[in-house]
């Protein structure tokens, strides 16, 4: 089989953030320092090599970029300062773009201006639409109940509509990911039994991100801060997403607080606010870990937009409970102006790793099982020289 080589691949990756790949001289230090690298999924050195050789078709079918959580140890000790950690990050960005069939993701990753303009446009359209809709059906000084500016039933419908658009895109992209990695990328036949056997890997990695916790093998600190905040942020986010999609009517109801729902909302908000502030601060200071040293434009959009969503969300809640209905309504519109572009952007942005990463862990577990049976790896890794 002929191997297709894309000579411009390394330059293309440059736009996704990997700048120093060409410096790598293949010593393998990065692969040995990485706790996640093993015989079957061996990275980052191998990915660096494939990049240098322009093996685009090979990289698009691998799961390795998703198995990396970017603790930055590889970049820390790289003798050539070729930044393998950032390369893996860039490959993840590139893969998100590759899985996306619309081509929007690659446009966003390569041009920050396009992304910002798109976000602003969607935000303005949303704001305008909601304002006109609110004016037509109710009064700005009523928050909920009869004649409300933005009635919760409407918001519920609105959320579900956007959510289903999002789900369609995501599912198609996830299917493409499966096709590339599990169909094209594996030489052995994978029995459906294996899919069933490892099904628990997906929720396990989704909810615990335990591989991220393993990243801190050097024990610089007792708890690996990026992991715990990342986990808090993610759990908060998912909780909030479920609340908004399913329990929005209870959530928006006021002025009394429905504790069964609001308790979750408060906990989620806490996780989100701490997470976003931690990541923004780290990215600004560039000190703590290597992973914060380089920030792609999409990373900034991600944290800042999320931060705005959390702030406006909390703001409208407080204003509503304290009786400033007009201000609450306006803040709510601002909140939705952030939320809608955020949600619509999800399948085309960094956010998609929420789905892809645990999915990749699941696929990786299946692949490993299938390959191990085939290779029958010997217990002692003896290398014969002759």
């Amino acid at each position: 089989m002929a191997i297709r080589i894309n000579l411009g691949y390394i330059d293309e990756l440059n736009k996704y953030g990997a700048e120093d790949v060409q410096l790598c001289y293949q010593c393998g230090d990065c692969s040995t320092v990485c706790v996640h690298s093993d015989d079957i999924f061996n990275f980052p050195r191998k990915s660096m090599r494939r990049l240098q050789m322009g093996l685009e078709r090979k990289i698009e079918t691998t799961l390795e970029p998703w198995l990396c959580y970017y603790c930055g140890q590889c970049s820390d000790q790289c003798p050539r300062e070729a930044d393998p950690g950032e390369t893996m990050m860039s490959l993840r960005r590139w893969l998100i773009a590759r899985y996306d069939f619309t081509g929007i993701a690659s446009r966003f990753f390569r041009s920050s201006a396009t992304e910002v303009i798109a976000i602003l446009a969607v935000a303005l359209i949303t704001g305008l639409f909601l304002f006109i809709y609110g004016k037509a059906g109710g009064s700005i000084s009523i928050y909920d109940g009869e004649g409300a500016f933005l009635p919760s039933s409407f918001i519920h419908f609105f959320d579900l509509a956007i959510g289903s658009v999002l789900a369609v895109f995501l599912l198609i992209n996830a299917y493409r990911m499966w096709h590339l990695t599990m169909n094209k990328g594996v030489s052995v036949r994978i029995s459906p039994w294996l899919y069933l056997k490892h099904i628990f890997t997906f929720p396990l990695h989704f909810f615990t991100q335990k591989r991220y916790a393993q990243c801190e093998s050097k024990n610089r600190n007792f708890i690996f801060m990026p992991w715990i905040t990342h986990l808090g942020l993610m759990l908060g986010y998912v909780t909030m997403l479920v609340l908004v999609m399913v329990f929005i009517e209870e959530l928006q109801h006021g002025p009394e607080i429905i504790w069964q729902v609001h308790l979750f909302a408060y906990a989620a908000s806490l996780g989100l606010i701490i997470g976003t502030i931690y990541f923004i601060r780290s990215r600004l200071r560039k000190t703590a870990y290597v992973q914060f040293k380089k920030s792609h434009s999409t990373d900034w959009v991600f944290v800042i937009l999320l931060f705005l969503i959390v702030i406006t969300g909390i703001g409208q809640h407080i204003l509503h409970r304290t009786g400033y209905y007009e201000a609450a309504n306006i803040t709510y519109i601002l909140h939705l102006m952030c939320v809608v572009p955020w949600l619509l952007r999800m399948p085309f942005s960094k956010w998609a790793h929420l789905l892809y990463r645990p999915l990749a862990m699941y696929f990786a577990a299946i692949q490993k099982d299938a390959l191990k049976k085939q290779l029958r790896l010997s217990e002692d890794h003896m290398i014969t020289v002759k």
Binding site: Q26, C27, G28, D29, V33, P79, I383
Partner: protein
């Protein structure tokens, strides 16, 4: 002759003020036209030929750094204008040494010579000045020894200054040399002995150069000789003093893997073969004569004088050879290999001393054993003769070399000595597993590739792929690496790890470069005059570099360079002029000489 001068630069040169040179050139005889074309001009032969024709020029001078680059265009233009293409002449600044303080004068001189059609090198020969026949060699390693012997055998005096108590340097520490696996001591010690016995070599051990003044051919050197406190001529190295000495310190010669006394001889074959006192640990010296002094009473030859003062010596020499060698990089700052944390992680020099037949274990390769130190009340790990040989050894290449954080350069010898280690380990311990982790195998010399091939075939596991992890798991060290050729992540249990540590210039290099006025390259090695053409000369005439202090090199290269240096020294003595110090010739003299040559 109607002359036109064109200044053009191929790259930025901040040393030379082109305007000043142009102003000077305009006043030269016969100069009709001076043009400054600037940095990397795009020249057109047509335009130039019209210019040449309009000014009726019959000589063109292209001045600048690497002006030859533009010669074809001017030759073409000259031919088109009907002139003589042979009259397109070059005045190259940098190639004729227009650097440093004299840069401007030198540039002017090259232009002046070109305008008179006199080759610069014919004119700018340094003035004859009487060269003192004695030579100073700084550093008594193999480079210093070789250079001293070459010069002394030619019948000239040599002062060999060595910082430690014996000559021999690092080579004396080695067991075998690569790729021939000859015994290093068998090559070195005869040379050391002949240095010690040579009539023309004055050996100054325990000494340092503190001051250098004068000019090429006549340097005045101040040397501070620390008191040896033992009479070199009387001492018979009977070891009685050392037996009674109560002080124990780490032996520098043994890379710290064994202990020696405060009165000691670095190794039995030392030259001069006499004991010496270590001032930094001797109880008598430290207490200023209040305590101890048992060795004096014990000495049968009565040759110990603990109150001997340091001495200063003034020398007059014609040439100076620097052969100060190297040190190992401080490997403690590279954490991931566990050096200093795990007992059986060794540097290359420590292993070299361990495997040496004259070493502390008599050449047996063993792992360290735990021993209780009564003085400090702590367990410590030491090499002892009844230690257990390791079952498996990992050798890690490129520790601190080719690494942007430590040494960006390749230390050149590590690959080969690591392969040598693998051979020695497999030779001495039956059924041992030996792993080499390398990035690129740099077997560059004569017979080296064959040696590498041989080691592979002997059964050493040579792993293409570096490692960063040396860990301790349940009392067992393990090394994790990537075997790139076999596409595996490997993890080997090992009992000993040898680090092929990168090389850095020796500590005194910086100080010496200040004393001698010799520049160093960004990595700290002494700069030679020209890497290809003049690898032994420095920018200061009469001062030469030999061996590792100029850059990492192996023993054959070091010996070759040392001999080459001797040739340079002898050349300067026989010709009666110091080499490469044309700075002493002023511009006016060059002009005058050129005028004379022009008329001939």
């Amino acid at each position: 002759m109607r002359t036109g001068i064109f200044f053009c630069q191929v790259d930025e040169n901040t040393l030379i003020n082109t305007d000043a040179v142009a102003k000077y050139a305009a006043n030269l005889q016969g100069v009709e036209l001076v043009r400054i074309l600037g940095l990397r001009p795009r020249l057109d032969a047509e335009n130039l030929s019209t210019l040449i024709q309009s000014k009726a020029l019959d000589r063109i001078i292209i001045a600048g750094d690497m002006p030859g680059y533009y010669k074809p265009v001017f030759t073409k233009a000259m031919a088109q204008a009907g002139g003589d293409p042979a009259e397109v002449r070059l005045a190259s600044f940098r190639e004729h040494g227009a650097q440093g303080e004299q840069a401007l004068d030198r540039a002017k001189a090259t232009v002046a010579c070109a305008s008179m059609a006199v080759p610069f090198s014919l004119v700018a020969t340094p003035r004859r000045n009487p060269v003192h026949h004695a030579t100073l060699v700084i550093g008594g390693g193999i480079a210093g020894i070789q250079a001293s012997l070459e010069i002394a055998n030619a019948g000239k005096h040599v002062y060999l200054v060595e910082q430690t108590g014996t000559i021999g340097g690092h080579m004396a520490m080695f067991d075998k040399t690569f790729p021939t696996l000859d015994c290093a001591a068998c090559i070195l010690t005869p040379k050391m002995v002949s240095v010690g016995q040579h009539d023309m070599i004055h050996l100054l051990t325990n000494s340092k150069v503190t001051e250098v003044s004068g000019k090429p051919g006549a340097y005045r050197v101040k040397i501070r000789q620390r008191a040896r406190r033992v009479d070199v001529n009387a001492c018979v190295a009977c070891n009685l003093c050392s037996e009674v000495c109560p002080v124990k310190v780490e032996s520098a010669f043994d890379s710290g893997i064994s202990l020696r006394k405060a009165i000691y001889i670095p190794f039995p074959q030392a030259v001069p073969n006499a004991y010496l006192i270590d001032e930094e640990s001797c109880t008598y010296v430290l207490s200023e004569g209040q305590k101890c002094g048992v060795c004096v009473k014990k000495c049968p030859k009565e040759c110990i004088n603990l109150d001997e003062p340091d001495t200063d010596t003034d020398l007059e020499v014609g040439n100076i050879i620097i052969a100060t060698g190297y040190e190992l990089l401080d490997v403690g700052k590279i954490e991931q290999y566990g050096y200093g944390k795990y007992p059986n992680v060794l540097t290359s020099l420590e292993f070299e001393r361990l495997t040496n037949a004259s070493g502390t274990t008599g050449g047996r390769i063993v792992t360290k054993t735990k021993q209780f130190n009564k003085k400090t009340q702590k367990d410590e790990w030491i090499f002892s003769k009844d230690g257990v040989p390791p079952r498996s050894v990992a050798i890690i290449h490129c520790v601190g070399s080719r690494n942007k954080k430590y040494n960006a350069y390749c230390s050149r010898v590590c690959c080969m000595y690591s392969l040598k280690f693998a051979h020695l380990i497999r030779e001495k311990i039956p059924n041992v597993k030996c792993y080499e982790f390398y990035i690129d195998m740099r077997a560059f010399g004569k017979g080296y590739e064959e040696f590498a091939e041989r080691i592979r075939h002997e059964g050493t596991f040579v792993v293409r792929g570096h490692t960063t992890k040396v860990e301790m798991k349940h009392e067992q060290m393990s090394v994790r690496g990537e075997d790139i050729m076999n596409d595996r992540i490997v993890e080997f249990p090992v009992d000993m790890v040898v680090l092929a540590v990168g090389l850095v210039p020796s500590a005194e290099t910086e100080n010496l470069s200040r004393i001698l006025g010799i520049s160093r390259d960004p990595d700290g090695w002494f700069s030679e005059l020209d890497y290809n053409g003049n690898p032994t000369d420095t920018e200061r005439g009469g001062i030469y570099v030999a061996g590792m202090c100029q850059g990492p090199k192996d023993i054959p290269d070091t010996v070759a360079q040392a001999s080459a240096v001797a040739a340079g020294v002898l050349r300067s003595i026989t010709s009666g002029r110091g080499i490469g110090h044309m700075d002493s010739v002023p511009l006016s003299e060059i002009e005058a000489r050129a005028k004379i040559l022009q008329t001939i």
